[in-house]
């Protein structure tokens, strides 16, 4: 299924690049409406199902036997009444992002794309959604929603930390090594070390192991 999605995405981008190689952030509405109808896409513009306005909805039919997908596009404006609170340091407020996602989901969209003025803002939106989703919410909102900008040529999904921080693997291995060294130090020795161990050391270790292997609450009762 992922492959199908990727291919479709590539087709959209390819088609979009062919049909409109130079577009500016000002032509957001053009970006949302320029799609070839022959690719079994249909577009609804400025639609409101009762939960707030969606700027465009693409209905994409991948195959006659599959249900069509609804991709919603919501333009996020930087100039509104509460501009000071909603738009600072080239990023939108959380309130605005949450509201737009809610609007898209409640309108029945399978994916909600938040259209920002430029790529930097789109990345900021995607980053915020990913960060918030990483806390363990029941819905991974980053799989449903992403920030995009009209002049964007690359995918807006953030690079996973494993790729972004390649030394992460090294740190993990160091942790494992340290942990194993600790086990080696405090666990019961095996082989020759076990035979050469003094009775006093053995007794001390067994007491410590006994204390530390009890459930946390149990310790208090035994004191």
């Amino acid at each position: 299924m992922a492959k199908i999605e990727e291919r479709q995405y590539d087709n959209i981008v390819k088609h979009h690049n062919n049909s409109n190689s130079s577009f500016s952030p000002s032509s957001q509405s053009d970006f949302l409406s320029q799609l070839d109808q022959s690719l079994s896409y249909s577009i609804e513009k400025d639609i409101d199902y009762g939960y707030g306005k969606i700027d465009a909805i693409w209905h994409i039919s991948l195959h006659p036997s599959l249900p069509s997908s609804k991709l919603g596009f919501i333009k996020i404006q930087s100039q509104e009444g509460k501009a000071d609170q909603d738009w600072k340091d080239n990023q939108y407020s959380l309130r605005k992002i949450e509201e737009a996602i809610g609007r898209g989901i409640r309108s029945g969209c399978d994916k909600v794309f938040l259209v920002a003025d430029n790529e930097e803002m789109a990345k900021s939106i995607s980053g915020r959604i990913e960060w918030l989703s990483s806390f363990g919410s029941i819905v991974r909102f980053d799989t449903v929603s992403t920030g995009v900008s009209p002049n964007q040529q690359k995918r807006s999904t953030s690079i996973p930390s494993q790729e972004r921080v390649p030394e992460g693997e090294k740190i993990r291995k160091e942790d494992i090594r340290e942990r194993e060294e600790k086990f080696e130090k405090y666990n019961r020795p095996k082989g020759e070390r076990a035979e050469s161990e003094s009775d006093e050391k053995k007794l001390g270790r067994e007491i410590k192991l006994d204390e530390n292997n009890r459930p946390i609450g149990q310790k208090e009762y035994n004191v």
Partner: protein
């Protein structure tokens, strides 16, 4: 108005055994007015979080029961992002509660999120019977 609503929800939560009450709960996704955390006795079971968001009245002279869908959108997403297991939206009037419930119920059945199972809309009087709420004068007497 919201402070009064919050106070009654906090009071009710504190009176129920096994519930921990948190005011202005926020996990970086926006403020939840009151959170009840039900802590099961077993460590193996997770806490159940019930979030309460009091809806402010949008004061218009013509219609007191006015509300905006964008506020509801925001409240739902922020409570999900804040790891709230069930959301209760507390509104000032029955009429408003019905309208918001209808709006949530009217969502498509084919949507991947069935919000009617996540959101409950109540008025403060339904949640906290008036007999349980102390008047200011009664409260002073209790303190004395």
């Amino acid at each position: 108005m919201i402070e009064t609503l919050k106070a009654s929800i906090i009071q009710l939560g504190k009176s129920i055994l096994g519930i921990e009450v948190i005011e202005n709960y926020d996990q970086c996704a926006g403020l939840i007015d009151v959170l009840w955390t039900f802590k099961p006795r077993s460590e193996a079971l997770p806490d159940i979080r019930l979030g309460f968001v009091c809806l402010p009245i949008i004061s218009t002279t013509a219609d007191e029961d006015n509300y905006s869908e964008s506020t509801i959108n925001e409240i739902i997403i922020k409570s999900m992002m804040n790891l709230v297991d069930k959301l209760v939206i507390v509104v000032p009037s029955e009429n408003m509660a019905k309208r918001i419930s209808d709006s949530i119920e009217s969502m498509s059945n084919s949507s991947f999120l069935q919000l009617r199972k996540y959101v409950t809309v109540l008025t403060s009087s339904t949640l906290v019977p008036k007999t349980d709420v102390l008047h200011a004068r009664d409260k002073e007497e209790v303190i004395e």
